[in-house]
Symmetry: C2
C-alpha cells in the first residue's frame, strides 16, 4: 500500500474531464476534487491531455519466457517445443526465472498492464521479481505428470508448497492459483487432486484447454470424450473458479459446459495465430454470456506482452473470420482486457469506480495516432500502440511520464541478457 495519497487533476476519466483521488490503494473519489487537499500528503499528477484507464489484466502468461522472445519463429509446434523451448527450459533456475520476470513485468507496466495470471516454474524467482516491480499477479506452479504416478506425487507436493509459500507472504498484490497444465498432459488422478486442493485452499485453477486439434484428438482417443466433457464427467468444474486458456476449438456441448459451470475463458488470439492453432469462437462465447478475457501467452509465441495488441486483434480477427463487421466491438474487446479479467481473477479492479483498487494507467493523447482527440475509446482499441505514460498499481506510482520510479531499467536489461545467454549456451 502507498504511503502517500495521489490526486490526478483534469484527466479524461470515464469519458469526461475530471479528477481522480487515490487514498492508500483505493480509488477514493472521482469528480471535481477540491484543491484544498493537503499537498504535503498528496502527490498531484497533471492529467491535462491525458486519459486514465483501468490497468489491463493479462489472464494467461508464462512470464519468465520473456527471455525466449524471438528464439524460434515460424516452426511446426513439435519442432518448436523439442528443439528450442524444452532444451532451454531444462536450463532454468530461480535466478534466470527472476531475471525473465523482471523483464516481463517491465514490459507489461510500460504497456499498461497492471495484473497478470501466470503459470510456470521456480515461483520463488517469480514472486521476488513481481514484488520488486510492484505488480499484481496470480501465480500458479505448472504441473505435468504425463500419467506417471511418481511424477504426480512430486508435482502435487510442489504445488502445495508453492501455495503455502505464497499464502505465507501475505502480500495483497500476489495471489496463488493451481496450474495443472492441460487434460492431455495431466492424469485424471492429478486433476481430481487439484480440484480438491482448489477447494481446500479456496483458490482458482488455471489450465490450458482445447488449444489445438491434435490435443483434443488425444483426449478423445484416451477418454472417448472431448476435453471439457471429460473434465466435467468427474466434477472438475464444480465449486471452483476456473480460468481456461485458449479454448480455440469447442463443440456446442463444450460451450454449454463453459456457460453452465461459469468457466472464465482466456482468449489468446496472437499466440493462437502464430502457432497456427486456429481462431477461437469468441463471438459464440460472448453470445452465451461467457466471461471472455485476454492473454498474451508467453513471449515464445507472440512475441510480446503488449495486451493492447490482443485488444485490437480480438476486435479484428472475428470480423474477418465470420465476414461480419459488427461483432466484438471496441467496448467489448476493451472490457475483455479490463473488467472481465478482474472478474475472472476475483479482483475489485478493471473499472474506474470509487472503492475499487487503484490499478490504473495514464495515456498522453498528444500522439499522432490518437488525433483527432474524439472517439478516444475507439483509438485505444484500433490505433494506440500501447506505450503508456504513467502507471499506478495498488496505489503506488510505479512509472511516471515513461520513467520507472523504483527500479533501474538498464540493470533489468543487463540481467535479462545475462540470463538469456545462460539459457542458449
Amino acid at each position: 500500500m502507498s504511503d502517500r495519497n495521489c490526486l490526478i487533476k483534469n484527466a479524461i476519466v470515464n469519458g469526461k474531464k475530471q479528477d481522480l483521488l487515490i487514498e492508500n490503494n483505493i480509488i477514493k473519489k472521482i469528480g471535481n476534487i477540491d484543491d484544498a487537499i493537503d499537498k504535503e500528503e498528496t502527490k498531484v499528477i497533471d492529467g491535462n491531455n491525458k486519459i486514465v484507464i483501468p490497468g489491463l489484466i493479462n489472464t494467461h502468461t508464462h512470464i519468465p519466457m520473456t527471455l525466449f522472445r524471438g528464439v524460434a519463429d515460424d516452426l511446426p509446434l513439435m519442432d518448436w517445443l523439442n528443439n528450442y523451448i524444452w532444451p532451454m527450459e531444462a536450463k532454468l533456475n530461480a535466478d534466470i526465472v527472476y531475471a525473465g520476470t523482471l523483464l516481463g513485468c517491465l514490459e507489461m507496466i510500460k504497456s499498461g498492464t497492471t495484473t497478470f495470471n501466470d503459470m510456470y516454474f521456480f515461483l520463488d524467482g517469480i514472486v521476488k521479481a513481481v514484488d520488486e516491480m510492484g505488480m499484481r499477479a496470480v501465480l500458479s506452479y505448472g504441473m505435468i505428470d504425463l500419467f506417471d504416478g511418481e511424477k504426480r506425487k512430486k508435482e502435487l507436493k510442489n504445488a502445495e508448497e508453492n501455495i503455502k509459500m505464497i499464502k505465507k507472504l501475505n502480500n495483497e498484490r500476489i495471489g496463488v492459483a493451481l496450474g495443472p497444465h492441460a487434460p492431455y498432459t495431466c492424469s485424471k488422478e492429478l486433476l481430481m487432486e487439484v480440484h480438491e486442493m482448489a477447494k481446500k485452499y479456496n483458490i482458482p485453477i488455471h489450465i490450458h484447454m482445447n488449444e489445438t486439434l491434435d490435443e483434443i484428438k488425444m483426449v478423445k482417443e484416451k477418454t472417448g470424450m472431448r476435453p471439457f466433457e471429460y473434465l466435467n464427467s468427474f466434477g472438475f468444474f464444480d465449486g471452483v473458479s476456473v480460468i481456461a486458456a485458449h479454448c480455440v476449438h469447442l463443440s456446442d456441448e463444450e460451450i454449454k459446459i463453459i456457460k453452465e459451470k461459469k468457466i472464465n475463458v482466456s482468449h489468446n488470439p496472437i499466440s493462437n495465430l502464430k502457432l497456427a492453432s486456429g481462431i477461437a469462437p469468441i463471438p459464440k462465447l460472448v453470445e452465451n454470456g461467457i466471461n471472455v478475457t485476454l492473454g498474451t501467452d508467453g513471449c515464445g509465441s507472440n512475441n510480446n506482452l503488449n495486451l493492447f495488441e490482443e485488444i485490437k486483434i480480438s476486435s479484428l480477427i472475428h470480423k474477418g473470420a465470420t465476414l461480419n463487421p459488427t461483432i466484438i466491438n471496441t467496448k467489448q474487446s476493451f472490457e475483455f482486457a479490463t473488467k472481465n479479467g478482474a472478474k475472472a481473477l476475483d479482483l475489485k479492479c478493471g473499472e474506474l469506480k470509487e472503492g475499487y483498487l487503484a490499478d490504473i494507467a495514464l495515456i498522453d493523447l498528444n500522439k499522432p495516432f490518437l488525433i483527432p482527440k474524439e472517439n478516444i475509446y475507439s483509438h485505444l482499441v484500433y490505433s494506440f500502440n500501447g506505450n503508456v505514460d504513467t502507471v499506478i498499481i495498488d496505489g503506488n506510482v510505479v512509472m511516471e511520464n515513461g520513467k520507472m520510479l523504483n527500479v533501474n531499467e538498464e540493470k533489468i536489461y543487463e540481467k535479462a541478457e545475462k540470463a538469456y545467454y545462460k539459457l542458449i549456451n
Copy 2:
C-alpha cells in the same frame, strides 16, 4: 536533396555492427567508415544500441482520411459509407486535405514509413503537405464515373490535370499514378482511357481489386467475368505497371493473370479484417512468385498508419487461417513492407545497399520488447510497436531521437483538429 552528408556510426546495419554514410540523397557506403571524414560537412549520428532499417513503404493509403480515425467502427460497409464516410467526404476541400495529410505524414514518419502510394482527391493539398513533411509519395487522383459518360470525361480531365501538375513540380520525392477506383465503380471506357494515359505518361495504375465478395458478384453479373478476367479481356494489364490493392478473393484463373501480367498486390490485412472483407490468399500468391506488398488503407478502416502492425498481422493471420505455422516467415513479411514495396513503385530503395536512396529509419534497441538483443529481425516483425527514433528520407534527417526537425508537431495536431471539426459539423 540534403545539403549535408550524414554518417551513422556503429549501428546494426544488415545484421552487423557497422557504419553507413549518406551523400546527398544516396547511401554512399556501408562498412567501417573512417572518422577522417570532414565533420563540418558531415552530420554524425551515434548508432550505438540502434538498428538501421530501410524506411517502410505503404503501398495503399487514402492519406487525408487520417482525419476520419475512429468516427465509425464496427458497422456494416454500406452503413459506414452512406452515413459516415461519404457525408464527411462531401465536405472536403484542399485545406482540409492538407491538414489531414500533414497528420498522416507525421504518423507515418514516427512509425518508420518513408514512402506511401496514395489515392484520393484534392491532390494540391496532398502535394503541399507531402513536400513540407519531406516524405516520398506516389499520388493518384481517385476516379469514379459510376458508368456515367459525363462524369467519365470530368474524371479523366481531372486525372490528366493532376498528372501535369505533379510532373511540373519536378520533385524527385513526389511521383504520380493513375487511380481508377475499381472495376465496379468505373466504366470499361474509363478503364481503357486510363490504360492509354498510363502508357502515354509512363506512370503506374493504382486500383482496388477484389476487396469484397459483393463487388465481385456485381462485376460478374455485369460482364460475365471475374474482375481480373474482365480487365484482362480488354488488355488493361498490358504494357503498364499496376498496383492492385486488397485482392482478398481470387480464383486460380485470376492468380494466373496476376502472375503472368506481373501485377503488384497491395495486401491490407487489417482493413480487410475490420471491414470483414476476408483474408487474402497471400501464401498462394507468394508461392506463385507474385510481388506482395503491404498497405494500411485509410484510417477509416484500420485505424492507424503503423505499417509494423501490417507486418506482424501478415506473418500471423495466414498461419491461423491455414493452420500452417511455417508460412509467411519474418523475412517475407518484412520484405513485403520494404523491398517489394520499392519494386512495385519502381524506386531504388527498400534495401540498405550502396547506391540506393537514403530512405531509412533508426530504432533504439533499449526497449523491453526488443530484449534480449538477439534475433532482432524477429523482434521487428513480432514484437516492435513501431515507435522509431530517427528517420531520414531522400538524405534529409526529418526526425531525430523522436523529435521532428522541420515541422511543429503541436501545430499539426491543432490544424488536424480544426479540419476534423469542419468535417463533422
